[in-house]
């Protein structure tokens, strides 16, 4: 796992990444987009359902999109989207009153998953000075009760949770992004964050020295 200092810096980079992602998303959709600052925490996979129940409500239905990415930053992202109370994925691309078909809603859920995972991981990778490739997104759950989320495999795996609200002019779209990074990737991420922190402190030190000289 990351140290407290590394986690704090990773959260800061994610914040910047999400800030950068909102503008192109808005331009793409032609509508006003708010991507709330992500709250970063971690949870064991076996506890993910309980964690989501606390935030979404235990009776919630969700869409779940999974997508793997690689190579430096490698792992799998799982985007859990609230699928009820008018929060239709399709509403982000068309008038929600149109009443999407299942196929349209599925496609929209996949597209939103791909966009948000791409925005988050892609921009984070940029911040970390690398690039990523993705597998096609997979719809693991479509409008199913939260409790059907599969947490049986690797129940002890530590998931990085990024909780954000994604709003597009009137359509409130709440989602949680879970990331599982591979062991190698965690090592790489730790080293990269350390290097970036060192550079940051080196800049601060030189700035301070310059300040003293002035």
């Amino acid at each position: 796992m990351l140290s407290a200092e590394q986690s704090e810096y990773a959260a800061e980079l994610l914040n910047i990444a999400f800030g950068q992602a909102a503008a192109p998303l808005a331009a793409l959709m032609g509508r006003f987009v708010v991507l709330s600052p992500p709250q970063v925490s971690s949870v064991r996979r076996a506890q993910a359902v309980g964690w989501l129940e606390e935030r979404f409500g235990s009776a919630s239905h969700v869409h779940v999109v999974q997508q793997a990415f690689q190579p430096d930053l490698s792992g799998e992202a799982m985007l859990v989207m609230l699928a009820e109370r008018g929060a239709h994925a399709w509403g982000l691309f068309a008038d929600p009153d149109d009443g999407p078909s299942d196929a349209e809603e599925k496609d929209a859920a996949l597209e939103i998953g791909n966009l948000l995972v791409g925005a988050c991981i892609g921009r984070l990778a940029e911040q970390l000075g690398t690039s990523v490739r993705y597998t096609p997104p997979r719809l693991a759950l479509f409008d199913r009760p939260l409790q059907e989320l599969d947490v049986k495999r690797a129940p002890d795996a530590e998931l990085l949770v990024i909780h954000t609200r994604f709003s597009v002019e009137g359509t409130c779209f709440e989602s949680c992004l879970f990331l599982v990074l591979s062991q190698e990737s965690m090592g790489w991420l730790g080293q990269t964050l350390d290097r970036m922190l060192d550079e940051l402190f080196a800049d601060d030190d030189s700035g301070a020295e310059m300040g003293m000289a002035l």
């Binding site: 192109p24 998303l25 190579p71 196929a103 496609d107 996949l110 791409g118 892609g122 690398t130 096609p136």
Partner: protein, 334 residues
């Protein structure tokens, strides 16, 4: 670890080799600009579309495929150019995105290719941003998935169905009732059951034979199906015993449903080798109470069914009313 690099078309080392790979690879590869004008079109695309590379390059996709809706392609091309991520089309959702065919003589005529597409941003030697679309043929995989799914559904149906009456079998109807009772505990809705038995069924078997008995059972199954609502579930509970689960139905509604079932069975005519076999049934009705299980609810329905038998058969009896504690009944204080 990989270094950060930008893909280019095809001004990289060994352009001849790269061009040969693009031509021979067993996936479709095309490169388009923001207006969907084709810049690269490999051999696979020519084979599947019928348009040679010379014919396709320089044309827009909507000119090549004027009858194909391409809004989704335009949207994703725009997305990839603006955000720089990859975008995808899943063959299981979009099917044949572009009208591409493959010859499949063993499956009949040429068939539309079910396409999974990946869109990635690339740039040419002058720095223009383009989108590379790679297309894989998922037709066989989807066909296999569909056949597996259909076989699975058939097996599931066989496992849930009573083969003689085509109603649900006992484990399935009891499991549905259990689910319904648990849902009622949360929602406060009412669930009622009709437990019924064909009158003098043994006599049918003894007089006309077991095949005639089977015909009667089938006819009763059909009669139930005729009078049930879509939300009701009916199953064969035992030899000549049937169970109907009425969702979201209180006692008065259940009594009406029971009367309809009795009448539908009375109206059933079973002709067997020149004889007409009259069919009648006795029905017990019960409505779930707080804390009921499948066993307790069916025990009361069974008692009501016996009451119907004792009352001369071919009729409906409702369970005895719930015993009310004297205090709750509002008995006068001493």
């Amino acid at each position: 670890m990989s270094e950060n690099r930008v893909a280019t078309v095809p001004e990289v080392d060994g352009p001849a080799l790269l061009a040969a790979v693009v031509e021979r690879v067993a996936v479709g590869i095309l490169v388009v600009d923001a207006r969907l004008r084709v810049r690269l079109w490999n051999q696979w695309m020519s084979d599947a579309s019928g348009f040679s590379t010379e014919r396709a390059v320089g044309q827009r996709l909507d000119e090549l495929f004027p009858d194909t809706p391409l809004q989704a392609v335009k949207r994703k091309v725009r997305q990839v150019l603006m955000i720089g991520n990859q975008a995808f089309f899943d063959a299981r959702i979009h099917g044949a995105l572009l009208p591409l065919r493959r010859s499949a003589p063993l499956q009949g005529d040429a068939i539309w290719i079910q396409q999974t597409c990946t869109l990635s941003r690339v740039e040419d030697a002058t720095g223009d941003q383009l989108v590379c679309i790679s297309i894989s043929d998922e037709t066989a995989a989807i066909q296999a998935e569909r056949e597996r799914h259909e076989a699975h559904e058939r097996l599931k149906k066989v496992a849930r169905t009573d083969s003689l009456t085509q109603l649900l079998n006992r484990p399935t109807i009891c499991s549905l009732l259990d689910d319904e009772l648990q849902r009622d505990q949360r929602t406060g809705h009412d669930t009622s059951v009709l437990l019924f038995d064909i009158d003098h069924f043994k006599q049918v078997n003894d007089t006309h034979g077991h095949l005639a008995g089977d015909a009667v059972l089938r006819a009763v199954g059909e009669a139930c199906a005729r009078v049930m609502r879509q939300t009701d579930q009916a199953g064969r509970y035992g030899g000549e015993e049937f169970l109907i689960v009425l969702n979201d139905t209180a006692a008065p509604g259940a009594l009406n449903a029971a009367e309809r079932v009795v009448q539908a069975i009375r109206d059933t005519v079973v002709e067997w080798q020149g004889d007409v076999i009259p069919v009648r049934a006795s029905v017990g009705v019960s409505t779930a109470r707080h804390g009921d299980t499948v066993e307790t609810l069916l025990a009361r329905a069974d008692a009501a069914l016996y009451a119907a038998k004792d009352a001369g058969r071919d009729c409906v009896r409702v369970e005895a009313p719930e015993a009310v504690a004297p205090d709750e009944a509002g008995s006068p204080a001493l």
